[in-house]
Structures are given as structure tokens and as C-alpha cells.
Symmetry: C2
Subunit: 412 residues, 2 copies
């Protein structure tokens, strides 16, 4: 009999308990041993719950119970999750988690402790909700060198952008609708500013490249500045604006960024709508492989937690486990050294002059048009250009034009 604990009884935690008991007999069969939840840790009371006898408030009970071999951490955030998980691994218990912040910030350290203690630290639910991505990345693509990953990693922002694109809603209205439907928090900044996507691309890139990518090293832009005009120009370009987390191996280093981007309609990522997520993995042998599904939600995320519980209960030692190393500061390249194509939208004092300056600085421009565009409005796509130079060039051109929109154009 395997005894486990679930820490946190919020959305994901209660879903985990629900999925666990719904498929209980199958789960035991898959593990080849009986398994049960002994404790559920939460500071709140749940007197009406059918599991009320399992609730505890003292973490020490889990830590010091030798019967407990696997713990699911679904509290979220760094504090107290980090100290809890660290103590559990050090005490020789396997931990599975849905906590992307924890893995993105402390992954290398926790994986190292798990390896030393010969236990497992799994986090399938931390990226892509119910989409299996961590384990396929690790196992099935193990014969590939992974060169590049790009994903629509945040369902809230994808919902907002879809509403702007398909229904012509303004950003603020689309955000309000997302909040009304429960897709966005009252404080939506973690989503709309790109921090959630940043944590997820850090986890995927760390796993793919074998070294920890820290969120604070990753240039991150959100979608709050995207306007309907930008969305219209993107349509005329033959694409869709998406918030993309991407990572690319450049020699021995990693380029990682989160930014809104023009994505061609030819791309599998362009047709990913509403709260769906998709992750494109570019391997040297497989070519492009895409994983698609609901990136969030109670039951999808809970099912990923439960599948990790099953794996942790089956694989009692760490020998085949996920792993990446900690990394020095220089592993993530500064984004200012990168080259990208840019879309620009400008309100010009003198349009001809502005376009001539632009063409001189940025090579042959691809001019875009939209229905109802202003006389003094110019929109175009540049050649590939160094990010630092582009920033300086924008300063130059802003003497002759007001810059209303700047969005990268990515090839996925």
C-alpha cells in the first residue's frame, strides 16, 4: 500500500483528489499496488467534504510520517511551497507539483536534491495543463537535439487576443470578458504582462537545453499595448497576433523571450484559439512536432498531477528521471544581441519622409494596409535587424513620427 499526501485544496488540489478517486481502481492497477491519499494539507476547514478525515493543517505530520512516499504540492507560489518541497525531498519523499513559479525559479536546485536523495521531482502540470509535454520532451524526443521551442503558453492572453481578432473587441473589453468568465484573475498582470508564459518557457527551455534558464534573465513583453489596428494589420499580412514564449539554442547559449508576435496563418500556432495552448518543438531529426490542448482548467491540470503521482509511485528511484543543471549567468544571451523582423505602426508628420528614413535604416520594407487607415498612418515589416540597433533607430524616427505599435514577426 502506497500512502500519499496532497498539499493545497484549491482548484487544482480539489481536482487532483477528484480525479484520483474517480479513477482509483485503474490507478492502483497501473501502479501494480494499492494507493491512497492519507493527508490533505490546507489551512482552511472543509467539514462538508467526503474526505474531511484526511484534512490536516500541520505540514510536520506529512514530513515526519515514514508511510508517506509521494507528495503532491499544489499550493502554488514560492512561499511556503519552496521550503515544504525542499524539506520533503531532503527527507527522501518524491514530490510532484503543478507550481510553475517553483520550478522556474528553483528547478535546478530541487532536481539536484531529488537526485542526491534518489527520489523523483516531477512537474508535468506546470506547463500546458493537461497537455503532455514535459515527459514527451524528456523521453520521446531524447534521440533529438532540440533546437527550438515556441509556444502559446497562456490561455488567458490567447483568449483576449482571439476576441480582439475574431470579434473586433478592444483589449480592455476582452480582458473584462475574460475576467467575467473566470479565465482571468482580478489582478491580471501575471497573465497579460507575460510573466506566466515566461515561467513556462523557462521550464521547457531548461529541460530542452539541460541548463536552468532563470525568468529574470528573459526579456518579457505582454499584450497590454496591442491595439485593434495592430490586429487588423496582422490580418492583412496574413497572420494572427499571438503571445509567444520561445527559446532557441544559439551555439552554446540560449536565446529566450516572451513577446507578442505576428505569426503567419501557415503556422500551426496561428489557428490555436481561445484558451487553448500549443507548444511547437523543433528537433533536428523529428522536424516540427506540436502539442495542443487546454492549457489550464481544474481537471486537465489535475489529471497531469495524478499521472505524475502514478509515475512517482511506480518509479521508486531517480535513475531515469528528469534533470537539468544550474547555470551561470551568461547561459541566457542578452536579447539586445538578437536579430528579429519587426512590424511597426506610425503616425507620421510626413509619411514619405518617414518611409524613406525607415527604408534606409531597415532595408526593403513590406508595406501593410488596413481598411480605414489614416492618411498619415504607415505600417510595415522590416528585414531582420539587431534588437539594440532597432531600439536606437526607433528613437531617431520618433522625431518624425509617433510610434503606435511595435510587434516582432516570428517564423513558426
Amino acid at each position: 500500500m502506497i500512502k500519499i499526501a496532497v498539499m493545497g485544496y484549491g482548484v487544482v488540489g480539489s481536482g487532483t483528489v477528484e480525479v484520483f478517486y474517480k479513477n482509483h481502481s485503474n490507478i492502483s492497477a497501473k501502479i501494480g499496488d494499492d494507493i491512497d491519499i492519507k493527508y490533505i494539507l490546507d489551512l482552511r476547514d472543509f467539514d462538508d467534504s467526503p474526505y474531511k478525515d484526511k484534512f490536516i493543517k500541520d505540514f510536520g505530520l506529512i514530513l515526519n510520517d515514514p508511510e508517506i512516499s509521494v507528495v503532491a504540492e499544489v499550493i502554488g507560489g514560492l512561499n511556503p511551497a519552496y521550503n515544504f518541497v525542499k524539506s520533503l525531498l531532503e527527507a527522501g519523499k518524491s514530490v510532484v507539483t503543478s507550481n510553475k513559479e517553483l520550478v522556474a525559479e528553483k528547478g535546478a536546485e530541487l532536481l539536484q536534491i531529488a537526485r542526491e536523495k534518489n527520489v523523483n521531482f516531477f512537474f508535468e502540470a506546470s506547463v500546458g495543463g493537461g497537455i503532455p509535454i514535459i515527459r514527451p520532451l524528456h523521453h520521446c524526443l531524447s534521440a533529438n537535439e532540440i533546437d527550438e521551442i515556441a509556444g502559446i503558453l497562456n490561455g488567458t492572453t490567447n483568449f483576449i487576443l482571439t476576441k480582439m481578432i475574431n470579434d473586433g473587441m478592444e483589449f480592455d473589453d476582452a480582458l473584462a470578458l475574460a475576467q467575467k468568465l473566470g479565465y482571468a484573475e482580478r489582478d491580471p498582470s501575471a497573465d497579460v504582462d507575460g510573466h506566466d508564459a515566461c515561467r513556462k518557457i523557462c521550464i521547457l527551455a531548461s529541460l530542452s537545453f539541460g541548463k536552468h534558464i532563470y525568468p529574470e534573465k528573459v526579456h518579457t513583453e505582454g499584450i497590454t499595448k496591442i491595439t485593434l489596428q495592430d490586429v487588423q494589420y496582422c490580418s492583412s499580412f496574413g497572420g494572427a497576433v499571438k503571445l509567444i514564449g520561445w527559446a532557441k539554442k544559439i551555439d552554446d547559449k540560449a536565446a529566450v523571450m516572451v513577446c507578442p508576435a505576428f505569426i503567419s496563418n501557415e503556422s500551426q500556432l496561428a489557428s490555436v484559439n481561445d484558451v487553448f495552448n500549443a507548444i511547437l518543438v523543433r528537433g533536428d531529426a523529428t522536424g516540427d512536432v506540436v502539442f495542443y490542448g487546454k492549457g489550464a482548467g481544474k481537471l486537465p491540470t489535475a489529471s497531469a498531477v495524478v499521472s505524475d503521482i502514478i509515475m512517482a509511485a511506480k518509479m521508486r528511484d531517480n535513475s531515469k528521471s528528469l534533470y537539468w543543471n544550474s547555470s551561470e549567468d551568461e547561459f541566457t544571451v542578452d536579447h539586445s544581441t538578437l536579430y528579429n523582423k519587426f512590424y511597426l505602426r506610425l503616425i507620421c508628420k510626413n509619411k514619405e519622409k518617414v518611409l524613406s528614413i525607415a527604408e534606409e535604416m531597415w532595408g526593403k520594407l513590406k508595406i501593410l494596409h488596413r481598411e480605414g487607415e489614416e492618411d498619415n498612418e504607415a505600417a510595415f515589416i522590416t528585414d531582420k535587424i539587431n534588437e539594440e540597433k532597432f531600439k536606437e533607430d526607433c528613437r531617431i524616427i520618433s522625431g518624425d513620427a509617433e510610434i503606435k505599435g511595435v510587434i516582432r514577426v516570428l517564423d513558426y
Copy 2:
């Protein structure tokens, strides 16, 4: 040091050796032990190959060499692959294969021997080429009940249908182009008649439902009867014609079929073009998850074989392995008992009369139109109707009209 053998040096076999040596140091690192190919079995001579010292023609050398612990079978077909693989498993060696015919016909038996001998039998490369699907299905969705799977599983037929849809090519011309580009064999029947897709959906369904689904029990239709007119009507319906392998749990039995189908443009499967494959998995907790990528090709398939070699070399025992049971004949339900929507295209003696008979038999019809349709042509979509009754009804209506096209309409 782990010693392995590769049986078969055709497209996938030579790709396997190439991917293996290209990523050799990484592969050893991932396994945590040095690994090398000791034998390559092929009846032909490869005197110019850099690996020429490894080539052998005698299977017995592999079977009787106690140093060999893992063997990759990439010969294809049932004979001699089946006897080879069976002997190897019985001799206590793990086997990985790309051979869909072998797994679809003999999977349950071989998995049973592998379990008895405590070795592994893996076949990631048998479905979806380089798309990781077998292992994600098994592991990551292990907390789900899988209710349904539907996939575009054959790249050749998807290429042909894409050319018909996007370029207005006739079936024969599109097939000739596929042959010219090397996507289709000179004898294309395994692809265009649906047998290849049938083997793949059998493997996916067996794994998902835990019991062997035999190809001969699966109603299988190919794409040879699809015309440009059908494709045009499908566009006007707002969808695309795709060859779909699908499997659905109905109570304790499985409904499995391969057939061309109208798929709504809303579906993630509709935008899967050219030689790409996509597999949609519907789980009770995750909802729809889609895996997308190149379903064939030397390097993608080889990389799946190599990732299985890595797993087999890491996991020396069978305790966490894939498995399904053999099944009695009645596990797969007869397709004549199923209910589906149908698209029909008819050349009528009297169109009004035919539509009135049709509506009487099949409920409210959704009438379709296309540019340049004949005066006496009728095309429509029926309600859900029993397959057996529909077949009889078609016999009735064929007194008043010539049936030119019949295609199911599926909801994925």
C-alpha cells in the same frame, strides 16, 4: 557497455544508425552507460558503408549473443519479423520496432512474452513517425479514461486529399504526384485503401482500451472514390475531407473505423495538411489533446526508434511497461450497429422526388450546393442514422438516383 543490434538497413534502419551515431555521446549520457551498435542485420551487402564491419546476414548471431540486450527491428512486414522478434523476446532481449503491421497483428502476444520474460517491447515509431504518441498515451494520460481517439494517420493520403482540396487536382493526378515525390509506393493500395491507417488506429485503440483490436475486425474504407465534386461540397459545408482512423469506447466494447470524413474547419484536424499527421485524444479529464507533426520520413521515424532504444536500455525490466490484453472476437463492435451522419451526392431522375424520399428516410437534410452543380445533382447531409439501415435505404433510393458519393460526417 550496452550492445545492441539493428535488424534491417532500409530507409528507417539506415536512419536509425545515422541518428544513433549523430547523437551518440548524448545518448550514452542519457542512459548513464556507454552504448554501441554491435550488429546490423541485412541480406544485402553495404561494402561502402562506414559501418561495414557490423553487417551480418545470420540472425542467429544476434539471437545467441549474450552481449546483445536490445534489438531494433526495422525490417517491416510480418515475415520474418514476427519470428525474429518472438525469438528475441523469448531469449530475454528487449525489442523496439517501427513495424506497425507486426504490432497491429501480434501486439498482445508479443507484449505477453515480453512481460513473462521481464523485458521490454516498445513501438513508438509504429504510429505517427516522429510524433511522440505511444508513450504520452500510456504515461501522461494515465490518470484519464480515454474515451475516444481520432487521427489523420497516413501522410500519403493526406497529401493527396490536400492537393485535391487546395489545388483542385483529380485523385489520379494527385496520386501520380505523390508517387513522383516519393510519398507513395508504386503499389499505393496499403495507403489509399486505408490499411496503413487501420493498423495505426488498431495500435492506438489497443493501448487506450487495454485490449487488442485486430485490423480484420475494423471496417476500413480508403479514399479512391473521393471526387473533386465531393471535395467542393465539403468546402461549402465549411470543412475538409480527411481520411480518419477513429476509435470510441461504447460501454465495454470498442467501435473502430477507418473512413474518409467531412471534418468541420473548426476542428484542429481540418487544418492538418500535406504529409502531416495529427492525433486527437479525448480524455475524461484532459478534454481534447492533439499531437501534430510529420507522420513519416526517414529521420523522424528513426528518432522515434532511437528514443525507444534509449528507454529500453535505461529500463532493464518490464515493470513499468506498456501492455494490453488479447481480446475475444466480440470486443470490437460490428460497424453495422453504429450511428453516423452521412454526406450523399446523387444524380437524380427527379430531384424533388429523391429529396422527398431522402427526407422521409433520413430526417431533416442539410442541403449543400457547389459552383457549377448539375441541374439533376443533389447533395446533402443526413441526421445520425444506423449504418445498416442507411445501406438498405441507399439501395431503395438508387431506384431513383445514381449514388455518386457517400462520405461520413464526423465530429472531431
